[in-house]
Amino acid sequence: MTLGITWVTDWIRLSARVIAEHRVELITLDREIGDGDHGENLDRGFSAVIVKLDALPADALPGDALKLVATTLISTVGGASGPLVGTAFLKAAQAAGKEAELDGAAIVALLTAARDGVVLRGKAAVGDKTMIDAWSPAVDAATAAEADGKSEPEILLAAADAAEKGAESTEPLVAHKGRASYLGERAIGHRDPGSQSSALMLRAASDAAQPGFSLVESPGA
């Protein structure tokens, strides 16, 4: 079972919903070790995405939808997360290329490209207490699941689970990138908001891929 444009648009719509639902939580996390705008930033961006998504042509490919997300986020989010999450979607779109259906390998390639894009822009490594701490374990888990011959939904589920653990793993860390790095030791004990939002988006990717998923009663909501 490959995944196509329905999965991508479901993923995007579900991400928008989940980000909106977690807006205050993300603001709160960012208040603690940043400047308190992360939830607002992403919510502004995804609200704009949703409006644009309605205008997507019926024959759009996954890459088209992902590119739309990328350019919209880049031009509406601002802050650090705008260019970074935007780049993730831009690279994902490039990895998706002109394919209409994505198999396990394509999905792994897509996630890897997204992660690599963020690293290229933001220069963060695992353990720097950034969204990379969610993305990197997700890519690793997806890669392993694909190597094990798992199905596409299983690959994305593995990625989502790993991203969540990755987000949790930022709590005891000192930050080396982004605004939280100004805090030194005082960042310890707080979860990185960008890793949390990335985990939410990767969970949305997985939820949207599961058999029987319907946006109306989303299992993630």
Partner: protein, 333 residues
């Protein structure tokens, strides 16, 4: 949270409309995308100067648009870097053919968004140079941080670069003088209260009634250390010591001393700080030859202040003294 606003989502757009209404002699405003530009932009043959960043730091940057300083300011949402689109649009609007300097405070978001805009401007054949401001000695510049933050020193960079552009320096020269100002500027701040971001609706951090944050940023980030409230003189000593040590400043130096209010601190207090800072510098044989006191780089209604010291030489002094006509800084003709 009580604020004199309408819908929190419209804060920046409405404030920018207010700036347009209040300063029609100085600036013109674009609403989509949002930026503030010198009334007579572009100035043919003059290097254009664009700065920007999150809103909530007013008068930075919009209050510094005008002759002798910025050609355009790009305000993002409150405490959030603008996206590349308005930065690009502003860059195009001020390009008089001599290229454009981006003055960017060192925050990941600002740097990345300006970087993208500069790339896009390059694709439109506009020569863009970027100078990153990172004057805050509270943050260690190491592999293990995003580097020093840009804080109040930004005003000094913008003023002096603006004067260099106004006198006709080319893009390399304007970028060089901006880089020099940044290299010779050090700042550090203190907060007594936290700002309240309109969309968040609660203070950015919680600070007990008898504690203060030392080494504060301008976006409501907590500082480097939390200590008990002290007398103003002791606080000045705490802020000045790392500043003076870092450059280092030495006996015989001529400096510009800048005491900046973070928005919610009464001016009497700023002058009390200035008095002590000037006293300490005098004791060390450092001559305060230029001064600035007031709310210039703020953090909404945060109570607190920062101290900035710029090591002057003849060129910087002359450029500082050069005429400037903006809403927030104005002298000469």
């Amino acid at each position: 949270m009580k604020k004199l606003i309408n819908d929190p989502k419209n804060v920046v757009a409405e404030a920018v409309a207010g700036i347009a209404a209040a300063h029609p002699d100085l600036v013109t405003v674009s609403y989509d995308p949002i930026f503030i530009v010198r009334k007579d932009a572009p100035t043919p043959g003059k290097v254009g100067i664009v700065s920007g960043g999150g809103s909530g730091h007013e008068p930075l940057h919009g209050g510094f648009v005008g002759s002798g300083m910025l050609d355009a300011a790009v305000p993002g949402p409150v405490f959030t870097s603008p996206t590349p689109d308005p930065i690009l649009a502003a860059t195009i609007a001020v390009n008089g053919g001599a290229g454009v300097l981006h003055i960017v405070k060192n925050y990941t978001g600002d740097v990345l968004n300006f970087e993208t805009a500069a790339d896009l401007a390059g694709a439109e054949d506009i020569d863009v140079r970027t100078v990153i401001v990172d004057d805050d000695v509270a943050v260690k510049d190491s592999l293990y941080t995003a580097g020093r933050r840009g804080v109040a020193g930004t005003v000094l960079v913008e003023k002096i670069a603006g004067a260099a552009a106004e006198r006709g320096d080319d893009l390399d020269a304007v970028a060089a003088v901006a880089t020099k100002v940044n290299a010779q500027t050090r700042s550090m701040g203190v907060a007594l209260t936290a700002p309240v971001v309109p969309h968040a609706g609660e203070p950015s951090f919680d600070l007990p009634e008898d504690e203060i944050e030392i080494g504060i940023g301008i976006h409501g980030e907590p500082g480097r250390a939390r200590i008990k409230l002290e007398p103003a003189d002791a606080i000045v000593d705490r802020l000045l010591a790392p500043i003076l040590e870092d450059l280092p400043f030495a006996s015989g130096d001529q400096v510009l001393l800048f005491v900046n209010g973070m928005g919610g601190t009464p001016q009497v207090e700023l002058y009390i700080l200035f008095r002590r800072a000037a006293e300490v510098l005098a004791e060390k044989g450092i001559t305060v030859s230029r001064t600035l006191v007031g709310n210039f780089v703020t953090s909404l209604e945060m109570q607190g202040a920062s101290i900035t010291v710029l090591k002057l030489d003849d060129e910087l002094t002359e450029l500082w003294d050069a005429p400037v006509q903006t809403a927030a800084l104005r002298w000469g003709r």
